[in-house]
């Protein structure tokens, strides 16, 4: 206790400013590829599942392969852009974002399989994908 260095109010303020600046710069150097990816994944899968849920025949096939191709391109771009910055993807928060997206995507795919053609359910589940991924991206993008 006696060895503690006295901290003056001005020193405390400097330390708080330093902590805020460090925290922001470290997060900024990492977060943007993740924000872009989760948002793009949400838009692509939301539109894709909506199209798959409401179309048949060749149009369904186009929507199906189009969604797959978009998702593949996004994943490839994401993997390249986070090279050397992939630690965040092993964090609990990112796992939570992906789990949230997956749950809504699974619900939308279930509608495609079991309630094909239902405008209401296709609309609700696809909107849910968009909402959840936008919320995750917004949380990560907040200042």
């Amino acid at each position: 206790m006696e060895n503690r260095t006295p901290v003056a109010p001005a020193d405390a303020q400097l330390l708080l400013d330093r902590a805020d600046q460090l925290s922001r710069s470290a997060h900024n150097a990492t977060r943007w590829p993740y924000i872009t990816f989760i948002l793009s994944l949400g838009v692509a899968t939301s539109m894709g599942t909506l199209a798959m849920g409401l179309t048949t025949g060749n149009a369904f096939g186009l929507a199906y392969f189009g969604t797959l191709a978009a998702a593949f391109a996004l994943i490839m771009f994401f993997m390249i852009s986070i090279r050397g910055r992939s630690a965040f993807s092993r964090g609990r928060r990112w796992t939570g974002y992906i789990a949230a997206w997956f749950v809504t995507y699974a619900a939308a795919i279930s509608v495609v399989i079991w309630a094909h053609g239902s405008v209401l359910w296709s609309g609700v589940t696809s909107a849910l994908i968009l909402l959840v991924t936008m919320a995750c991206a917004a949380r990560e993008a907040r200042p």
Partner: protein, 102 residues
């Protein structure tokens, strides 16, 4: 016995009073998980100095150190634990109190 009110500085976390350890935890505050390299670049210190301070923070339960491989290259990730976040928030609250912000 009467309770004597102590100066808030006595409540500062001893481990976080070291400037390097303070900076490491600050760098992890928003991101929660970063690679060893990212923290090293943010704090601007050598690998060995960072490694030494990370061991101390890990020993105190403030950081979790993860090891993985990308091909044959080892990758180390640093995560601020719940205990570390609690200590960090308390440390910042005390600093705010000293600075007269609370």
């Amino acid at each position: 016995m009467t309770a004597v009110e102590q100066h808030p500085r006595h409540r500062l976390d001893e481990l976080l009073q070291n400037p390097v350890r303070f900076s490491i935890v600050a760098a992890l505050d928003r991101a929660s998980t970063l690679s060893f390299k990212e923290v090293r670049d943010a704090v601007e210190i050598t690998d060995s100095a960072l490694s030494k301070q990370v061991s101390l923070l890990e020993g105190a339960g403030y950081l979790a150190v993860g090891k993985s491989f990308a091909g044959k290259m080892p990758r180390t990730s640093l995560t601020l634990t719940k205990q570390g976040r609690t200590a960090w928030n308390a440390h910042l609250a005390t600093l705010r109190e000293i600075a007269g912000l609370e």
